[in-house]
Symmetry: C2
Subunit: 214 residues, 2 copies
C-alpha cells in the first residue's frame, strides 16, 4: 500500500508517519519509483504499536525506539521481549527504602508473591520496576492508614492474573511470532485504560446497587 | 492531638498541613490556647483523604475542595457522594463523536452494559465522565485495529466488578457514615495504582509460565 493508505488504515496522519520514519520508529517502505514507496501489513502493525506506546502509554520517542529494539530482537524469548516493554513504560516514583511504610509494603508484597506462587515475579523482585511500582502503591495505602497486607491483596492479584490470562489468550490468536510479540506489547499498554475505566464504572454500579441513587 | 502528632501519624509535613488549612481543605483544630489547637481522628482521616486525592489521584487543590464539598453534603446519598468524587477525578480526553471508532466503541459499550445488566451505568451513560473514558479507551483499541467488542470486554468487566465488590466490602468495615464515605472515595483513588501494578506483574508472570524466561 502507499503512504496515504497506510495513514487511512491506521488513523495516523501523514505528518506523524513521516516523523516516525525520520525518527527510525518505522522502517522505510520499499522504493517503487522516484517519489513513491510501498508499505505492507508489517508496517501497519508496527505503526499501530508505536501509536499505542506513545499516545496511550505516554512513552517518549527515545524509549519507544528502545522498546522496539527489544521487540525486534529475536534472540530473546517472548517473555523477555514483552518484559522489556513493560519495564520501559513510565513507572512513577522510586520507593524510599528509609520509609517504614515502604519496608512494610515490600514485606507484604513478598509474602503475597509467595502465597500466590508467582515464581518469576519473586525471582525478578529486586530487578523489576513493575515490582517496585507495586511496593510504592501499597506503601501509599499503608502510609495513609489503610492496613493493606498480603491477605487483602491476594484476591485482587488473582483477578488481575485472570485478566492477564485473557490478554495472552488474545495474543495467541495472532498467527506469526512477530505479530504475537507486537500484540502482547500493544495489549499491555492499551488494556490498562480499559481496565481502569471498567473499575470506576463497576464502583459506580456496585455503589448504586448497595446504597441506591437517592 | 497537636499539630505535630497529626503530622507524624499522617506522614504529611507540617508545612503541607498548614497549606491545606489555609486552602480550606482541612477544618481548623479546636483552639486550646493562644498558639495551640487540638485535632481529632476526623482531622486525621480527612488529611489522609486530601493526600490521596492530590498525591495519588492527581487532583488539583480546587477540585479537591469541590470533591470534599460533595463528601460532606449529607443531604446526598452515599452513591452520589462517591460518584461525585469519581466524576471529579482527571478523566483524559473527550471522545470525538465524528470519529467512526468512537461511534463503534459507544455502541459496544452500550451493548456491554446491557449484557451485564449494569442498570445505573446505563442510566447515567450520557452524563458520566467514567462512561466517556471507557468509550475513549475502547475507541483507541478499535482505531488501532484491535477488534474489541462487548463479548471481549464482558469478562474483564466481570473481573473489575468483583474488585469493586471487594472495595466496598472493605469500605463497609468502617463504623460511621462519614468514615464510610471518606474511605470509599480514598479507596477509589488508592486502589487504582495497586490494580495497575498487579496487572503488569501478572502479565509478566503469566508470560513466563507460557513461554519461559529464556
Amino acid at each position: 500500500m502507499r503512504l496515504t493508505e497506510l495513514s487511512e488504515r491506521s488513523g495516523v496522519s501523514l505528518a506523524t508517519i513521516k516523523y516516525y520514519l525520520r525518527e527510525g520508529l518505522l522502517t522505510p517502505g520499499r522504493r517503487i519509483g522516484a517519489t513513491t514507496a510501498e508499505y505492507d501489513e508489517g508496517h501497519l502493525r508496527r505503526l499501530r504499536l508505536v501509536r499505542a506506546l506513545i499516545q496511550v502509554g505516554g512513552v517518549p520517542v527515545a524509549t519507544a525506539r528502545e522498546i522496539l529494539g527489544h521487540v525486534d530482537d529475536d534472540s530473546l524469548g517472548r517473555t523477555i521481549r514483552l518484559g522489556a516493554a513493560l519495564w520501559a513504560l513510565p513507572q512513577g516514583p522510586e520507593p524510599d527504602e528509609r520509609d517504614p511504610a515502604v519496608v512494610t509494603a515490600r514485606r507484604e508484597v513478598d509474602r503475597l508473591l509467595e502465597m500466590l506462587g508467582w515464581e518469576t515475579a519473586r525471582e525478578l523482585s529486586t530487578l523489576s520496576p513493575v515490582h517496585r511500582s507495586l511496593v510504592v502503591a501499597v506503601a501509599t495505602l499503608i502510609r495513609l492508614g489503610y492496613p493493606w497486607d498480603a491477605e487483602l491483596m491476594a484476591p485482587y492479584a488473582e483477578l488481575m492474573h485472570r485478566a492477564a490470562v485473557r490478554d495472552l489468550d488474545f495474543v495467541e490468536t495472532h498467527p506469526s511470532e512477530a505479530e504475537k510479540v507486537e500484540t502482547a506489547v500493544a495489549a499491555a499498554v492499551l488494556f490498562e485504560p480499559v481496565l481502569k475505566a471498567l473499575h470506576r464504572l463497576a464502583q459506580e454500579e456496585e455503589s448504586a446497587r448497595r446504597y441506591g441513587i437517592e
